[in-house]
Structures are given as structure tokens and as C-alpha cells.
């Protein structure tokens, strides 16, 4: 396609010349400084999230192993905890102590897994924002 000479001449004649290039670059430098600050902040947050994730994992493994070890080390016909009182509710709790402890442990593990998944998602999102 050939260029229309009259249009080309008009565009070239009206080409703007900027006299405020220094102010423009100064404004850009300020914005880049702000971007760098946010980027560093996000990278720090990602590092912190990763540390939290590792800590959650380690604590989960240790507490889970300790609780399972404790459960296995106690006789099956002996309740895991007892109360001084003898009301109906307390007796029920003592009778079902193993189920209650196992349920609590499962809930803790579920919370830990959800926390790890959330952290992974947050880290990925922040990495996308940075890039």
C-alpha cells in the first residue's frame, strides 16, 4: 500500500516536540521507585509466607506424630483423659476420648492443609503480580 503524500506531510508537519522531557523522566523515576518498593515488599511477603508454610508443615508433622505416638502408646481400654466429676456428659466424654482426640487431630491436620494451600495460592498470585 502506498502512502498518501498529503497525509504523510500533514502528520510530519504536526509532529509534536516536547520540551518537558526532564520532568517526564523525573516523574517516571518516581513511579519506578514506587514500583520497586512494592515489588520488594511483595517479595518479602512471599518469603514470609513460605516460612510460615514451612513452620506450619513442621509443627503439623511433629504434633501429629506426637499425638499418634501417644494414642498408640496407651492401652485401648484405658480412656485418654478423665474428670473428677461423674455427670452424664463427662462420662460420655471419657468413654469416647479416643474418638474425640482423633477427630481433633484430623481437624488440626485439615486446617494445616488448608493453610498451606492458601499460602501457596497467595504466593502464586503475588508472583504473577510481580512478573
Amino acid at each position: 500500500m502506498n502512502k498518501d503524500k498529503s497525509l504523510e506531510a500533514l502528520f510530519q508537519a504536526q509532529k509534536p516536540h516536547f520540551t518537558d522531557s526532564e520532568q517526564f523522566m523525573a516523574r517516571l523515576t518516581k513511579r519506578l521507585d514506587a514500583v520497586e518498593y512494592i515489588r520488594q515488599y511483595q517479595e518479602q511477603t512471599i518469603r514470609r509466607y513460605k516460612m510460615i508454610m514451612v513452620a506450619t508443615f513442621v509443627v503439623g508433622i511433629i504434633s501429629g506424630a506426637a499425638t499418634i505416638g501417644f494414642l498408640l502408646s496407651t492401652p485401648a481400654n484405658v480412656p485418654l483423659f478423665t474428670f473428677h466429676g461423674q455427670t452424664g456428659l463427662l462420662i460420655w466424654l471419657i468413654d469416647n476420648s479416643r474418638i474425640i482426640v482423633s477427630t481433633g487431630l484430623a481437624a488440626l491436620m485439615t486446617l494445616g492443609i488448608i493453610s498451606i494451600i492458601n499460602n501457596v495460592q497467595d504466593i502464586r498470585q503475588m508472583q504473577c503480580e510481580i512478573s
Binding site: 497525509l7 523522566m25 514500583v35 512478573s131
Partner: protein, 158 residues
């Protein structure tokens, strides 16, 4: 690309970028400069993935084009109002055309036609390069240029 290299490239290309956006924004300098700043920040954030093949300007213009289209899409309501205002203004008919006439005529073009015309006549890119910058086919660019040129010539009475 580190920050110093990026700044060095930008210092060389900022005038061309601002001219391009100035034409796309139909002479609105504040809007053009805001878009140029946004473009450069986006370019800086993605500069890690930029491979230096001597096409920094094309790469910048590609980002600028997308930034402009996104901005126009978000400002659709305002754009219509501006269009109505501009369409009601008389255009120069002396055959030479002035600064205001050119930008008023440009403002009547759809954003994609405006981009193609500006890249072709103001910055001197070829159809193939425009197709790469605007991420369209060469045939589409040819159509945009043809339609845009006819509309501009009619408005400017060239």
C-alpha cells in the same frame, strides 16, 4: 534488562512514544503523558522477559497500543460524550489542515484505525510491523489504513 539499561533506552525513545500516544489521544497531552507513564511502568515490570533484538521501540509501542485500547475501553462512556462534542465542531477546509483539524479528524476514527494510521504516517512503520505491534493480520491493517485514510481525507478535505 536492569533499571539503568531500561532508563537509557527510554530516554532515547520517550519522545517517539509520547508523540504516538499524543496522536492517539488526539492532542490531549495530559492523557497521553499519563498513558505513556503507565506504558513505561508496564514495560519496566515485564522488562525481565524482553529479549534485546534492537526492537525496543516496537516493543514499547505494542504495550502502548494495548494500554491505549484498555484505557479507551474503560472510558467508553466519556469517549462517546467527547465524540459528540468533537463531531459538532467544524473542521478546517482550507486544504492544508491545522494541528487542531488533524487531531479532531483523528478523534473521529475508531481506536484501531487511529493506531494504524498513526503508526503508518507518523512513525513510519510498515504494514508488517504494524500488524506485529497491533497483533492483527496484515490484511486487517490494510483495511484499517484504507478506511482511516479515506475518512481523514474526507474530514480534512485533502
Amino acid at each position: 534488562m536492569n533499571r539503568e539499561t531500561f532508563i537509557t533506552y527510554v530516554e532515547q525513545e520517550q519522545e517517539a512514544l509520547r508523540s504516538f500516544l499524543f496522536a492517539l489521544c488526539c492532542g490531549n497531552k495530559d492523557e497521553a503523558d499519563d498513558l505513556a507513564q503507565d506504558t513505561l511502568v508496564k514495560a519496566y515490570l515485564s522488562s525481565a522477559g524482553y529479549q534485546d533484538k534492537g526492537k525496543f521501540r516496537s516493543w514499547l509501542f505494542k504495550i502502548a497500543h494495548n494500554t491505549f485500547l484498555n484505557h479507551r475501553a474503560s472510558q467508553h462512556y466519556t469517549e462517546n460524550i467527547d465524540d459528540d462534542r468533537i463531531k459538532s465542531l467544524p473542521l478546517g477546509g482550507d486544504g492544508e489542515g491545522s494541528y487542531e483539524d488533524l487531531y479532531l479528524a483523528l478523534s473521529t476514527l475508531p481506536p484501531k484505525e487511529r493506531s494504524a494510521i498513526t503508526l503508518f504516517y507518523l512513525t513510519g512503520y510498515s504494514i508488517k510491523e504494524i500488524a506485529q505491534i497491533t497483533e492483527t493480520s496484515e490484511d486487517a491493517v490494510k483495511k484499517q489504513l484504507s478506511r482511516g485514510r479515506d475518512k481523514l481525507k474526507e474530514k480534512l478535505k485533502l
